[in-house]
């Protein structure tokens, strides 16, 4: 180090040392953003892990290799090799069979297991916990429906089996799987004695489940899956990863993790604004010192280095504090918060050291980028200018401001790109620019309006109001910092809040009485009234049946749909959707989960063969309004014209259909009816099942209670995470608010002293401040509400949720209006109380 360079470094260190309290605050603004980023990263990671674990539990494995045919030697070799790689495995066989017991016979879904089952999740048995040859466990529904209990025997194929336990909970038993029949579990060793499994003559699903060892990472498992997929060519062998068992949930999770990422980055943006604003005023105050340095002969570029070095220190400090804060939040704080908020979030947050490095780099880059132009202008002023006092409020040029904004946005763009993908980054930055632009324009308009209003506030009774408004209008840059950072912060929090509300209203209504857990299928037309009565007796309310007609599309606008041997890839989806068999229904009214988005739904008296299509189906099959479609319904061709397109809220779990036609056309077609309803108690469900199976043997009853429970649980994790994030956001918002108020603290001190000297009393001064803070609160509330409503609408559009605004929003609005007031008055309370001379001496 040259002596001169050493001198500059020492000077930097000295300034740093002298102003360490303030510098610590600048760093803190940024550090909060970094800590938040860090925390959200871990939180998302933890929630994703949790969902994966849940997904693994659903599959009860990391990987499943299954087939309806017996595995050949090559497959067996591959399976054996897996165990040498450290995977634990278990063999499972599934098949349906008729069970005979106590003069009854019924269909059951049989599962033959090894001792090592399950690899994940819990198999909860009421009774003997180990299963041996000649024994079986039966589903609770069998116990209730067929009056079979532990100790009874049943006949399965040629084997007599003793019931040794009742299955209370079974991993991997969610839906589908072995059909709708109730479960019976036997030991693999019992299969032979049943004589039910015969190659080529039985329909049996063989499966090997694999569980990773502790040394396997996610990517190891993925690699194994890739390898298996190339090694096993036969299409009848299915290789399933836990990831695709809950593909939809994972997809939602993936998107939501981006959403979280963006939220945390917005927090960082707010932090940067806070940091930038406070360093800006700090650097302004440094002008005099710069003048002295310059007069003492320090060159302009040395001054530049000096303050750049200072910013570097701030950046590093911010990164380090952020990382440490994040670490604390993620370890001790995290559990505490989860406990405090009584959240249903059983997660072990993991700490990734990589985030530390990332946080420090990010904060250094941001600090430098945000302050670069200010430092440059600081270094460029001449000492004379400073001593004449001509540059006391010298602002950097508009161009420089724009460049700073663009470059900062670029940094965020690159970071989001690095963390997610290009389109997300692009949309994010566009949204950010739009939000800031809107905020800016609206603040400018608002200030202009206030300025105009000053002309009308001349009456003495408006003295306090006039002073408050004047303070707001004249301290333009301070007001801007307040409003921009608060608006962005609260828009974000409120967006979270709104999204949370929409999600809970929409998704958590799953547990309300609205969302059905029992589905009936194959009800015949003539059985509808009687079946309806049975359900009504149990559930207490009438249920709605929908007819279900199977059809194929025969022609579109008179053009026959022909089989194609070679389908180009880009038309494959359309081809599949056009040639498959699907379900139609007829009705005259829409249910409350569907909405016509194009055309008009017919009136009951309307005398035309209309067709109404579901939106996604229409676009996948490339069908549009006005198309004339002919359907082949069991050999009879039915033609109609598309006159409306509907959007369906699939989350409602109501019976909904891609294609709907008026009753007049279809009521004679071969049809069965489906219905859904909600039954809470297990006993009632069993009763209904029993009654229906006795009277209407053809009716299929599907119980999705456990599916709903699983979905609810998964969404629960997600929503809890969202809640934690929202709380953090509020915390960050409040801290930044305090910090921003703190930047003008000294000046406010002397101003209050002055006003007191001139005879303003304490009350008046407090009122003046209150007016200012109320204005800030009000504008923040209005701005952030408009922005957050826009963002929520966008988010909900993307995820196909409907936006719900509940009464908490009003409370929240009031909260935002009052928060600056309360915090501002509290932060300034010392100023109001202190006596004038003391204030002056400061």
């Amino acid at each position: 180090m040259t002596p001169k360079a050493k001198g500059i470094t020492q000077l930097t260190a000295r300034i740093f040392y002298f102003y360490w309290k303030r510098i610590l605050f600048f760093a803190l603004c940024m550090a909060l953003g970094i800590a938040f980023l860090f925390t959200i990263g871990n939180l998302t990671h933890a929630v994703t892990e949790q969902v994966s674990a849940q997904a693994r539990e659903i599959l009860s494995a990391d990987i499943e290799i299954s087939s309806y045919r017996k595995f050949n030697d090559a497959h067996q070799k591959i399976i054996a090799q897996m165990t040498t790689e450290g995977y634990t495995t278990t063999h499972v066989i599934n098949f349906a069979s008729m069970i005979a017991a106590k003069d009854q016979s019924f269909l059951a879904s049989v599962k033959a297991i090894d001792e090592s089952f399950p690899l994940y999740g819990e198999l909860l048995i009421d009774g003997k916990k180990q299963i041996g040859a000649g024994e079986c466990w039966i589903a609770e529904s069998i116990e209730l429906q067929f009056d079979l209990h532990t100790g009874d025997t049943i006949k399965l194929g040629k084997a007599q089996l003793q019931i040794t336990g009742i299955i209370k909970k079974e991993p991997g038993r969610v839906f589908g799987g072995g059909g709708f029949a109730p479960r019976i579990i036997i030991a693999n060793s019992t299969v032979k004695t049943t004589a039910l499994v015969e190659a080529g003559k039985s329909r049996v699903r063989y499966a090997y489940l694999f569980c990773r060892s502790t040394t396997h990472s996610d990517s190891d498992v993925e690699k194994t899956i890739d390898r298996l997929q190339t090694a096993i060519k036969e299409t009848h062998v299915r290789i399933t990863s836990y990831k695709n068992t809950q593909r939809n949930v994972s997809r939602i999770m993936e998107r939501q993790s981006y959403f979280f990422l963006l939220i945390s980055i917005v927090t960082l943006v707010v932090g940067s604004v806070g940091m930038g604003a406070s360093t800006y005023s700090f650097l302004n105050e440094q002008l005099e010192e710069v003048g002295v340095f310059r007069a003492l002969g320090i060159e302009s570029h040395k001054i530049f280095q000096l303050y750049l070095g200072l910013c570097l220190l701030i950046g590093i400090l911010a990164g380090v504090i952020g990382a440490i804060l994040g670490y604390v939040l993620n370890t001790a704080g995290f559990h505490y918060i989860i406990h405090l908020l009584q959240l249903n979030l059983q997660i072990q947050p993991s700490v990734h050291w990589w985030y530390f490095a990332e946080g420090i780099v990010l904060s250094v880059v941001l600090t430098l980028v945000v302050n670069y132009h200010k430092i440059k202008s600081l270094a460029s002023v001449s000492p004379m200018e400073i001593f004449r006092g001509e540059v006391a409020n010298k602002n950097i040029s508009f161009l420089a401001k724009c460049t700073t904004f663009v470059v900062t946005t670029m940094v965020f763009f690159l970071y989001v790109w690095y963390k997610s993908n290009l389109p997300t980054a692009g949309y994010f930055c566009l949204a950010l620019i739009a939000v800031i632009a809107v905020t800016f324009v609206m603040i400018v308009i608002f200030l202009k309006l206030l300025e105009i209003s000053l002309h009308y506030l001349t009456s003495p009774k408006f003295f306090v109001l006039r002073c408050g408004v004047r303070q707001l209008v004249r301290e333009r840059s301070r007001t801007f910092v307040f409003l921009v950072s608060l608006t962005i912060g609260f828009s974000l929090i409120n967006t979270l809040n709104l999204v949370y509300t929409s999600l809970t209203t929409e998704v958590f209504s799953l547990s309300s009485t609205k969302v059905p857990n029992i589905f009936l299928a194959d009800v015949l037309k003539k059985q509808v009234p009687a079946v309806g009565k049975i359900i009504e007796d149990s559930s207490g309310s009438a249920i709605e049946f929908s007819s279900l007609i199977r059809a194929r599309l025969k022609s579109i606008n008179g053009e026959e749909i022909k089989r194609q041997v070679q389908v180009p890839d880009e038309e494959l989806e359309q081809y599949r959707w056009r040639t498959r068999e699907y379900n139609l229904t007829y009705k005259n009214t829409l249910n409350d989960s569907e909405k016509v988005i194009a055309g008009r739904f017919w009136q009951p008296q309307d005398d035309k063969p209309h067709i109404s299509l579901e939106r996604d189906f229409a676009s996948r099959a490339n069908l549009k309004m006005g198309d004339v479609l002919s359907f082949d319904i069991q050999g009879v061709v039915v033609t109609g014209k598309v006159t409306s397109i509907r959007k369906i809220d699939w989350l409602s779990m109501k019976p909904n259909f891609f294609v709907v036609m008026p009753p007049k056309i279809l009521d004679e077609a071969p049809q069965t009816f489906i219905a859904s309803f909600k039954l809470d108690s297990k006993n009632k469900i069993a009763q209904v099942q029993k009654k229906l199976s006795q009277k209407f043997t053809n009716v299929v009853v599907i119980n999705v209670t456990s599916v709903l429970e699983t979905v609810e649980k998964l969404l629960g994790y997600f929503l809890s995470a969202l809640q934690v994030v929202a709380w953090f956001c509020i915390l960050v918002g409040v801290i930044i608010l305090i910090g921003t108020l703190g930047t003008g603290h000294r000046e406010r001190f002397s101003q209050v002293a002055l006003m007191k000297t001139m005879g303003c009393n304490k009350r008046q001064i407090i009122y003046i401040d209150a007016i200012e803070f109320l204005c800030i609160g009000f504008v923040t509330a209005v701005l952030s509400f408009s922005i957050s409503l826009g963002l929520t609408a966008l988010h909900n559009y993307y995820f196909e949720l409907s936006t719900t605004i509940n009464s908490t929003q009003y409370v929240y609005f009031a909260f935002i209006v009052l928060l600056p007031l309360v915090i501002g008055i509290i932060v300034n309370s010392k100023i109001y109380g202190a006596d004038v001379m003391k204030n002056f001496r400061k």
């Binding site: 002397s750 101003q751 005879g759 304490k762």
Partner: protein, 228 residues
């Protein structure tokens, strides 16, 4: 002439660490209506503290301060505020203009505090500023004014509501000789027209001598130089 401000055995103590510093030691004096008084003394002698105590900005440790028939040392904060707003004007060494207010608004401010209509207040402020030859600077903000101009705005502000007494703390301390002279002349001439009691704290003997009475603060004791 009647007494406008009387100090009786006023003491002011500050404690620094464990040490008690007696800044004002048993000060008694009477100031008359319309007098111009200079309080001089070496720096650190407690001039500004004396001024602060007289103006009710700071309570004395002991003693009495009576302004007309008002007992300053016994008044509440609100009463003092009311008193200052109606009967007292201040001029400071470093001007202390409200940064966010223009020259005219700064001058009108004391009137606004008194409850005058803002437009009316500005009218009076405009007249006064014109008197001080600042009519071309009405809508400039403090940072756009020179030091001398700032102090003249401050003077206008001190006199605008016709106070009975003006406290000036080193009014020319931050100015070059030329500006200082101009400001002093403005101050004296405006005081002449308003017939206000003017109490100036200064270390500048030349300024002190232009006042009708000189008091010197030495080691916390007040000496009346004009009588000696």
């Amino acid at each position: 002439m009647s007494v406008i401000l009387a100090l009786k055995n006023v003491c002011k103590e500050f404690s620094f660490a464990d040490e008690n510093l007696k800044i004002l030691n048993d000060i008694s004096c009477e100031l008359l209506f319309g007098e111009t008084v200079a309080i001089t003394g070496p720096s650190g002698s407690g001039k500004s503290t004396l001024l602060g105590v007289m103006a009710g900005l700071e309570p004395p440790t002991s003693g009495e301060i009576v302004f007309g028939d008002r007992e300053i040392h016994n008044s509440s904060d609100d009463e003092l505020c009311f008193w200052r707003r109606s009967e007292v004007g201040f001029i400071f060494q470093n001007f202390r203009l409200v940064k966010t207010l223009s020259a005219i608004e700064n001058v009108a401010f004391p009137l606004e505090i008194q409850g005058e209509n803002a437009a009316e207040a500005q009218k009076k402020a405009r007249e006064l500023l014109a008197e001080l030859h600042l009519e071309h600077r009405l809508h400039h903000f403090p940072h756009q004014l020179s030091g001398g101009e700032k102090q003249r705005v401050a003077i206008a502000r001190a006199y605008v509501h016709n106070p009975k007494v003006i406290f000036a703390d080193e009014p020319t301390g931050n100015l070059d000789t030329h500006s200082a002279e101009k400001v002093l002349q403005s101050l004296l001439s405006i005081n002449e027209t308003h017939k206000t009691t003017l109490i100036v704290v200064t270390h500048d003997i030349a300024i002190a001598q232009r006042m009708s009475r000189q008091l010197e603060l030495i080691a916390g004791k007040l000496q009346d130089d004009s009588e000696s």
